[in-house]
Amino acid sequence: MHILNIAWDHTQSRSDFRDRVILGPENLKFGLSALLKMPGAVIREAAALMTCNRVEWYLLCDDTERALSDLMEFYREQTGFILSEQDPRPLQRLDSESVLHLFRTASGLESLMVGETQILAQVRAAYELLLEQGEKSPVFNRLFQEAIRCGKRSREETGISRGAVSVSMAAVEMSRRIFSDLNSKTVLLVGAGESAELAVKHFQTLNAEHFLIANRGRERGEALAAAAGGTYLTLDDLPKALLVADIVVVVTASPDYLITAEMLGAAMKKRRSGSMYIADISSPRNVDPAAANVPNCFLVDMDTLDSVVEENLSRRREAVKEAAGIAAEMSLEFAAWLKTMDILPTISGLANYFDGIRKQILSEYKHKSSEENLQTMDELSRRIVQRILHNPIRYLRDQAGADTLDHREISVIWQIFKLEKMLDKYQIPKS
């Protein structure tokens, strides 16, 4: 039994190629089931992780060559895609490498921007899809659960995802050092270009809802205001807007100061309440640096935000080793668990053997005892069987997990209890 990872990612393929092999959620759901039903059924479990940077298949199979050719056959049949000589060869990882790769991916270690958080949600989506396909996937169920846990742990225990790594995100995040709840705050954006749009999106992810968009060009300003669910203002309205705004992000190409220290001072005096956070991410600056001296005003500019981003990136780089350690540790734990899967038929056989004896004896008393007594005996016998089997099963799991299980011991168990018959009777797979 092997875990095979077949992948095209940003390291070896272009996005236009990946667009040809990526499947939408509905096709993917169908595809996962279809792969398990391919003639010969060499693939036992299948899962896929598809993002804009990676198309990855995880296949649990006995024969890796056949599994790969089944996948290619599936692509040919379902999408018409045939891997040509010019196309990038898929990356192939096997067993522990596949597991480690998934854990590293979930931790954000394989992402273009190290530590990005979106990938964890995408791994979770892949797991949900695995559950939705309806086929039993005990190994991949556990694999993806552990991958999600690994992603969470890496982010919680290391600084891999801490701190903003873009100027606009840093500008938005810094507002959270001043305000606890952005939902009740008014955000004034001066400018309506791409950076302003990005800032609106970042603020919206932090629950901000009240936007004022001040822009020289009416059309663009109104468009962004409509997209943000806010109000459009002209630049002449700025003094009035400063009376109500809690957060101001200035991002225009204007060569002059649009907000002066005097304007801010007057506004702060009139409103007499609350702090104001101003992020000037324009170049040249659009907010008078003297505004930093206005009481309760917190002004940051591009230089400051650049240094914050650089500092965050360097911290993330430092955390890579630590996060990689967590991924490695958890992949070893998973490997230990996977080994115990090999002895599952033995455990199931033993459990069924003793349960069979229990049920057989109970059935002999079916007409000799009251319903109440039968229930008591059923409960009693179940507990006795559980107690009897507890130590042997634990021994088998521990030995298998530690890779010290002698197969002769398994053979003896099978002979003593005639488990071959039990497997046939209860249709337990033999390997």
């Binding site: 225990e157 959270r176 050092r177 305000f179 609350g274 930093a292 940051v300």
Partner: protein, 277 residues
């Protein structure tokens, strides 16, 4: 009973110290599991503290504030109690390290230097006076907590202004939360201290036939409380936010403590209980 008192006296610093350690780890790592443990240990510490006060009160038939060590222990407990109330109210645990640092060290010193057999005071044997003492100390602790929040606000706002984004910047809660917690602890302080002062005047009227004796400590406390109330009203009605209330809370408390210390040095105080009885 005495064995229980001594056992609790020795045991009491432990949950405070452990809670401080967990709050510190939470402050450093941001892992929620640490804050949960810290909160649990803090509640354990408070439970043991209440038990300690009750057992000691029963054992010696007087409220245990007869010496500086016992008073320090009461301060440790009330600061922790005010903080735990604020944490419950706001769900914010990042500032716990500062208050538990204070409580843990205060309780440690108190336990180390607390005499096993305190001197007897008739005044402190009276339950009304005990309540007056407890309420007043809680009020002062509330104002101390508010002062510390004020200091945190000043520090964080300075870091933001100077663009020095270090450890404190990253781990303290946002300014708005610090301000809210400071406001609430000020209110707790004002209410408790006000209640303590009123009870004190009633008590003075009964035993001295003068509800307003010319005692420097009482005068300073009354004046400080009135000033605090005025500041509170100005902040509330003037809708003052930001740095100003933080500064007032911090410097107001420092001024009050310095004045109380000076009053203690300058004149004979009614609060010198040993001379009274």
């Amino acid at each position: 009973m005495l064995t229980a008192v001594h056992a609790l006296q020795v045991l009491l610093p432990l949950p405070y110290i452990l809670s401080f350690i967990y709050y510190l780890r939470y402050f450093e790592t941001d892992r929620a599991a640490y804050s949960k443990k810290a909160y649990l240990l803090l509640n354990t510490a408070l439970f043991l503290h209440v038990l300690f006060l009750a057992v000691k009160w029963l054992a010696f038939r007087q409220f245990p504030v007869t010496n500086p060590a016992e008073s320090l222990s009461l301060v440790a407990g009330t600061v922790a109690a005010v903080y735990v109330f604020l944490e419950k109210l706001s769900g914010e645990s990042k500032t716990g390290v500062f208050f538990l640092g204070l409580s843990a060290s205060a309780q440690m010193f108190a336990s180390m230097f607390m005499p096993l057999q305190p001197i007897h005071s008739e005044l402190l044997a009276n339950p009304v006076f005990a309540v007056h003492t407890f309420v007043t100390v809680t009020g002062l602790s509330g104002l101390a907590v508010a002062a510390l929040y004020g200091l945190m606000y000043i520090m964080l706002s300075q870091k933001l202004r100077q663009h020095r984004f270090g450890h404190i910047y990253e781990n303290l809660p946002d300014l708005e939360t610090l301000e809210m917690m400071g406001r609430k602890s000020s209110l707790i302080g004002l209410l408790f201290l006000g209640a303590g002062i009123v009870m004190g005047h009633i008590w003075a009227g009964r035993i001295l036939n003068d509800p307003f004796p010319l005692d420097p400590k009482i005068i300073v406390t009354d004046a400080a409380w009135i000033l605090y109330v005025i500041m509170w009203v100005v902040v509330r009605n003037g809708n003052l936010r930001g740095l100003q209330p933080g500064r007032w809370a911090f410097w107001g408390f420092i001024a009050m403590i310095v004045s109380l210390a000076a009053a203690g040095l300058v004149g004979d105080s009614f609060h010198n209980f040993n001379d009274m009885f």
